[in-house]
């Protein structure tokens, strides 16, 4: 009978579910993967980045961002903003042009693709005839000039993309008045650059790749000046007054040319090879910026001496006697200069140099002495060193937040104090409801603390564990070595450093207690560091303890990596988290699980061999437990293979994280082939039951501290729970001495229970529910009055989550009460599980705890507590994206992050109540006529209207205001929420808030479709663990 009463058909519950759960992919944090093009609108102060996967992203002031995706999924080659308009044109590598525009929709701006266009030549002409190489949006905003490989320049009307054939500039017309010896068809072969005259809008400068430069009069349709360059041309740049222009060439030289009415075929004024006399690489782009003091800034990309510095990715800035070649660790995609955009201004006065390198964005302040870098508020390179793990902490107390910020600010003193120069648009999203921290562990042994409260993922503080250890390379080795007499004057900039000195330093697990400021960090070589937040620099000795997890198991020999060597004597630590104790696991295998209890001052750690408990107050090891199965022949007799495979799998997993995107996005047109191959060699899967003899059964997957009824139902006591890969759960009863005798008496532990799950699937989560079936609060949560104290009267329950099942047991006598079999019914396995609190969007007083689960298929499921009923399921990550699934981290309030590329986190939300997504507005000026004078007037007006908030002082004010707001949020969340809600309702009406999400949804669906199209039927081996 009961099978007809299926859960979920209760209409009341169904309605409640709609109020509680809702899935949205809200924003992408980090640096776009494989950027390929850069554009900038000086008028709107917006920057656009295109990627190889066909995405374009617009960034303005912090919080202002837009994203669009080309359907074609092709590389974006060029991005050009239509002057003074909220429109931009993109050129893809399939030679298609796309017109995008920002339109206001229900109070917020949105980016939409308006038109697409592919230039078509006459029938029979080669494809090169219409291959677009240069794009010039004319300031009249009516036409686009398209330079092609054939040398023809086509004129296209906007926004309709109609080709105006009568206005095409053909090479024949250009060559009419050229001296005989230059007059061959080949000199006009490929249009390299098109530049509009800064003063006279009816003239454009045309640069052909063989060196010929022509000034073309658009009104009379003829060439007025010819500049006969002899070198292969790379790019052109006008001087502001239009009296001169500069050309750069493939031999590493640049040339200045005069433009005057008396000489129609002038000789170059000056020809310079800045890094000569030896052969140099091409200068691919150049800027010539005038200043008040008369000395121009010459900024160019490349031009390094070919033999000795040909492999550098550099941009040189020359200003009088000052010259610096900024040296980037990855390829420079493009760069631009931010200067005074007022056309009436006499000088450009460059303020900042913005460089898009392949792996990071670097902004250099040209106004301050020494040209320091500007700390970017977004587009952080998450992958400066590969991300190895992540940890999210919600609702950080203000005190800790401020201390972390102050520690971080001490690290950022070398940054410029200049306010972020790209500040277009207005962020109208409500202030984030709480302070959230995202901690990422990296391969180089650092932990980065990110402000994950809002749309901009911003680096607050960076912690390095390297100082504790002796490594081959001195960390200060690769710092800037700026010698006075060194030539070229290279200076390393940026933070991207893919090379790890020692992979053993890699961070594997992080656990931060937000109340006490204790942080535990564990790494690849079995190192566990416990740290404390200190606001001052300090020099002290790090205590060192060994934990032998093997406990003289016979016949076992570790053939993996050595443990890290520690520094003897006191070590100097900068302000921030400072390690005070190091527990070294033996054998030094990867730490696979970590738990910290700041109230009891205990830290538990587990590896593939066992787990241990350490008392960091007394600095004493309490106990260790070996989880190796004696019948695990592989572990006992074949240590070599075991170690190798573990090491290998780790390596491969990281490599895969790095590589997966490259391969997935680069594939083109190979779909048919691969599916044929699949049919030739079918994939098969072995059906075999798990047995105890499987290797890695001892692998400790999860550790959990709980104050619960372990022995009998009358007395509760501290306990430690551990779950292994072989489906075993161990429970230890702990005796922690009271606070006054904490230092005198030892912490004692004894094993109280051992549970072997019959299905033997890896245990991925352990949780104790109190008498009200609420998960036990975190340590110190009750002490800080942030949680109700747990119900210690009713009977507690134990929830064990394995990869295959959810199972509730009674306590203290462990007997199975309830279960949900996931794998047996659906064939999916649990990869990540967290308890999340979901609040209703309708009523403020209702919230409930549920389990948020990510499966190996990339689905997210919400499962109710304590009855283990599946509530809802959303597809989130492609199942082939193993690195994405492995990197997923849930927050305590129903949000989550996962890596969509090595450098980008996608943020998603499962909650109707907590939603962090960009919501911003870009004011579009009313363009009534094409009168340029009129235009500049409106520009001034809009700039003035946006005036406040753009000056540095006001910016600070804003921040302080938000700070106060957040402090408030901590004191009374609900009050602020109501406030936010009421502003939402009052301002634009409730429904306004929703429209942006369907857009996101369609976008994500589109991405999924594209992915599906790409991968086809190809089944990719699932990556287990």
């Amino acid at each position: 009978m009961r099978r007809f009463l299926r859960p979920g058909h209760d209409p009341v519950r169904e309605r409640l579910k709609r109020d509680l759960f809702q899935f949205n992919k809200t924003v992408e944090h980090g640096f776009p993967h494989q950027p390929s093009a850069l554009g900038y609108s000086p008028f709107f102060r917006l920057m656009a980045i295109g990627t190889r996967s066909g995405a374009i992203k617009l960034y303005g002031a912090p919080g202002v961002e837009f994203m669009g995706l080309h359907e074609e999924n092709n590389t974006v080659m060029q991005i050009h903003f239509i002057p003074d308009q909220c429109q931009l044109v993109t050129l893809l590598d399939d030679n298609s042009l796309h017109l995008w525009s920002l339109k206001q929709h229900k109070g917020a701006s949105e980016l939409h693709e308006e038109h697409r266009f592919t230039l078509k030549g006459p029938p029979g002409s080669p494809p090169s005839a219409t291959q677009v190489t240069a794009v010039l949006p004319h300031s009249s905003r009516e036409v686009l000039y398209l330079g092609t490989e054939s040398g023809n320049i086509f004129v296209v009307e906007l926004p309709s993309f109609r080709v105006l054939e009568d206005r095409t500039i053909t090479p024949e017309a250009v060559l009419q008045r050229i001296p005989e010896d230059n007059c061959n068809r080949r000199s006009c072969e490929l249009v390299e650059a098109l530049r509009e005259h800064p003063k006279n809008h009816s003239q454009i400068l045309i640069g052909y790749s063989r060196g010929l430069i022509v000034l073309w009069d658009l009104q009379n349709n003829k060439a007025t000046h010819h500049f006969l360059g002899s070198q292969q041309l790379e790019n052109l740049y006008w001087q502001r007054d239009g009296s001169k222009f500069i050309s750069c060439h493939s031999d590493g030289s640049y040339t200045q040319w005069p433009v005057s009415s008396d000489n129609r075929q002038p000789e170059p004024l000056e020809n310079t090879v800045p890094y000569g006399p030896f052969p140099c690489k091409a200068i691919s782009k150049i800027y010539w910026q005038t200043t008040k003091n008369g000395l121009p800034y010459i900024i160019f990309q490349g031009g390094m001496p070919r033999a000795s510095y040909g492999d550098r990715h550099s941009i040189s800035v020359i200003h009088g006697s000052q010259q610096t070649a900024f040296d980037f660790t990855s390829r420079v995609i493009d760069f631009f200069i931010i200067f005074s955009s007022d056309p009436a201004a006499e000088f450009e006065d460059p303020a900042a140099l913005v460089v898009l390198a392949e792996e990071e964005l670097v902004v250099i302040d040209l106004k301050s002495a020494g040209w320091p870098a500007v700390h970017p508020p977004y587009l952080a390179s998450l992958h400066c060193s590969a991300i190895t793990c992540s940890h999210h902490v919600s609702n950080i107390p203000l005190k800790l937040w401020e201390r972390i910020i102050s520690a971080g600010s001490k690290q950022n003193i070398h940054y410029s104090s200049m306010p972020w120069p790209i500040d277009g648009g207005t962020n109208i999203a409500p202030d984030p409801p709480q302070r959230d921290l995202l901690l990422t562990g990296h391969e180089d042994g650092t932990v980065r603390f990110w402000d994950a409260s809002g749309v901009c993922l911003h680096l607050l503080y960076k912690l390095s564990t390297v100082r504790v250890f002796l490594t081959d390379a001195d960390p200060n080795d690769n710092m800037n070595t700026l010698g006075e007499d060194e030539w070229p004057p290279l200076r390393k900039v940026g933070t991207f450093d893919p090379y790890s000195d020692d992979p053993r330093l890699g961070i594997q697990k992080i656990y931060l207690c937000k109340y006490s400021g204790y942080l535990a960090v564990a790494g690849t070589a079995g190192q566990v560091l416990v740290m404390e937040l200190n606001d001052e620099d300090a020099e002290h000795v790090v205590d060192h303890a060994e934990a032998d997890l093997l406990q003289d198991q016979e016949g076992y020999r570790w053939k993996g990596h050595e443990k890290l060597k520690t520094r003897d004597g006191p070590v100097r630590f900068e302000a921030g988290f400072q390690p005070f104790v190091l527990v070294q696991c033996h054998p030094p295998a990867v730490v696979t699980s970590l738990a910290l209890h700041s109230e009891w001052k205990l830290v538990a750690f587990g590896t593939s061999h066992g787990f241990g408990l350490f008392d960091h107050q007394q600095k004493r090891l309490v106990f260790v437990k070996c989880t190796l199965h004696p019948s695990d022949q592989l572990a006992l007799e074949g240590p070599l293979s075991r170690v190798k495979s573990l090491k290998k799998s780790l390596r491969q997993s990281f490599r895969r994280i790095r590589r997966s995107r490259v391969s997935s996005r680069k594939r083109r047109g190979g779909g048919g082939n691969s599916s044929e191959e699949m049919e030739l060699a079918p994939v098969q899967r072995k059906i075999e039951a798990r047995s105890a003899e499987d290797s890695f059964t001892g692998f400790v997957r999860t550790l959990y501290f709980a104050d619960t009824f372990l022995r009998d139902s009358s007395r509760h006591c501290p306990s430690l729970w551990a779950g292994t890969n072989g489906g075993t759960v161990y429970a230890f009863c702990l005796r922690v001495p009271p606070a006054e005798r904490r230092m005198d008496e030892p912490v004692r532990a004894e094993q109280a229970k051992e549970i072997q799950l019959m299905h033997r699937a890896p245990v991925v989560g352990i949780l104790v529910l109190d008498g009200r079936s609420t998960p036990l609060p975190e340590p110190l949560e009750v002490a800080h009055d942030l949680s109700k104290s747990p119900d210690m009267q009713g009977s507690h329950q134990l929830l064990v989550v394995s990869e295959e099942q959810f199972k509730v047991f009674t306590l203290p006598k462990v007997s199975s009460k309830l279960k949900l079999k996931l794998t047996a019914l659906e064939g999916c396995r649990v990869r990540k599980v967290t308890v999340a609190n979901f609040g209703s969007c309708k009523t403020d007083d209702y919230s409930e705890n549920d389990l948020a689960v990510l499966t190996n298929l990339g689905d997210i499921q919400i499962i109710s507590l304590p009855f283990l009923k599946l509530q809802i399921r959303y597809p989130c990550i492609r199942k082939e994206d193993v690195s994405g699934i492995a990197s997923c981290v849930f927050t305590k309030y129903g949000q989550g992050f996962y890596l969509i590329s090595p450098s980008e986190f996608e943020r998603f939300s499962l909650s109707t109540k907590w939603l962090v997504e960009p919501r911003c507005i870009v004011d579009v000026p009313e363009v009534t006529s094409n009168n340029h004078v009129h235009k500049s007037g409106t520009e001034n007006a809009t700039r003035k209207s946006r005036g406040p908030g753009k000056t540095p002082g006001d910016c600070g004010e804003d921040e302080r205001k938000s700070g106060r707001l957040m402090e408030h949020a901590l004191l009374n969340d609900e009050k602020v929420l109501k406030e936010i809600q009421s502003t939402l309702e009052g301002g634009r009406g409730r429904r306004d808030h929703i429209p942006t999400s369907p857009r996101n949804r369609t976008l994500s669906i589109r991405i999924q479709k594209l992915c599906r199209k790409k991968f086809g039927k190809k089944s990719v081996r699932t990556w287990t663990k």
């Binding site: 406990q551 090891l621 260790v624 047995s691 462990v814 089944s1019």
Partner: protein, 391 residues
């Protein structure tokens, strides 16, 4: 060779049995209410079953009783001896000791033979089946219960004739499940005509594996359901995980590639070829299919294991100073005490359950945990592995 006999005390049966090695043909009254005899047989010329039967009746002085003779095979399962063939098999499997059990014919619970001989909690489903069987007058002509089931065809009455639902019993069997599955396409009849749809197929059988030995599954059979859940729309990996998660009691519904051996419902006979004793057996025990026909995943819980919980009232495991004392020795001690505890629990469980079966279970389990005996321990059996005890 030696033959060891345990004779159940007739009438009353309870208490644990501890096997003792005693000298030839000497009776030993045990305190637990069973008797043991030890005698020798010629391994190579064991003789006929008839003679053996008489010998046993003679040794135990129970000449006028109908008894059922069983033995513990290498897997630790209780199997019957009732004809020359299995007698010979029993003798040849002894190494060097053969344990023979004698029970009164009318008290024999046939369901005890074969699978799951080990003390496992059997809940509603199995009990139901046993009751059915017990009520039926026992026919001695052919004894389907004398075989250990490794597989059965179930739900013949509700499935289309083109489909076959096969249940594989993995418990108490040393054999691997032993088959592989792959992706493929199959043709379905739909309202729009024939359509090609993706499907899951058996791609390979491991020689000597359970799947092959049943003869009920074959390469290229299309897998339609796993434990009552349709596989349509699921990926190969999902189906793999489902099968593994259900491996202790795997029920797969296939559309055999070879449709000539299908069961014709009106007759009681299977097809001419591909017929195995097992399938015959399942026909005779039709009640089985009745019980299972309305199969629902939840109900299968009955067949499911209970997780093992070891409640330890252990001496504190404590390290006074930094790893000056490794607790391994301690944990070893704990381990063994835990295992004793577990054994006791299991025994108690059985006792409280069904008394009549309890005895044999206890005998077997005590046999198995005794390390001196050379019986090969089955996968599903109790093993003592230091600290961890597995079922």
């Amino acid at each position: 060779m030696l033959c060891e006999l345990g004779k159940m005390q007739l009438g009353e049966k309870k208490g644990t049995e501890e096997q003792r090695h005693e000298c030839d043909s000497r009776a030993l009254k045990s305190q637990f209410g069973a008797e043991f005899r030890r005698f020798s047989l010629d391994r190579y010329k064991p003789g006929k079953f008839e003679d053996f039967y008489k010998l046993i009746l003679h040794i135990h002085h129970i000449a006028n009783l109908e008894v059922m003779i069983g033995y513990a095979d290498v897997h630790g399962d209780l199997l019957p001896i009732n004809n020359d063939d299995n007698f010979f098999k029993a003798v040849s499997s002894a190494h060097p000791l053969l344990r023979v059990f004698i029970q009164r014919q009318d008290e024999v619970d046939y369901s005890n033979f074969g699978t799951n001989t080990l003390s496992r909690k059997k809940k509603a489903l199995v009990t139901l089946r046993n009751d059915n069987l017990r009520r039926r007058p026992h026919i001695n002509i052919s004894m389907p219960h004398d075989f250990r089931p490794v597989s059965s065809i179930i739900d013949v009455d509700i499935l289309p004739e083109t489909h076959r639902r096969v249940r594989l019993y993995r418990h108490g069997c040393e054999k691997p499940l032993g088959f592989y599955i792959r992706d493929g396409t199959s043709v379905r009849v739909t309202p729009h005509g024939l359509e090609k749809v993706p499907g899951i197929f058996i791609s390979r059988m491991v020689p000597g594996g359970l799947a092959e030995s049943t003869g009920l599954l074959a390469v290229n059979d299309e897998v339609l359901e796993v434990n009552g859940i349709e596989v349509a729309g699921k990926t190969l990996d999902q189906v793999t995980d489902m099968m593994i998660a259900n491996s202790h009691n795997l029920i797969i519904t296939v559309k055999p590639a070879n449709q000539r051996n299908n069961i014709i419902r009106s007759s009681r006979m299977s097809g001419s070829s591909g017929q195995s004793t097992d399938s015959t057996a399942s026909h005779h025990s039709l009640p089985t299919s009745h019980v299972l026909q309305n199969f629902h995943p939840d109900e299968m819980e009955s067949d499911e294991e209970a997780d093992i919980v070891i409640e330890g009232g252990l001496e504190p495991q404590h390290i006074p100073k930094l790893h000056s004392l490794t607790s391994s020795s301690l944990s070893r001690i704990n381990g063994s005490s835990l295992s004793h505890r577990l054994q006791r629990d299991l025994v108690l469980n059985n006792n409280s359950g069904r008394e009549s079966n309890g005895n044999i279970h206890k005998l077997l389990s005590s046999l198995k945990t005794d390390p001196r005996h050379s019986l090969v321990i089955p996968r599903g059996g109790i093993e003592e592995d230091g600290t961890v005890i597995t079922l």
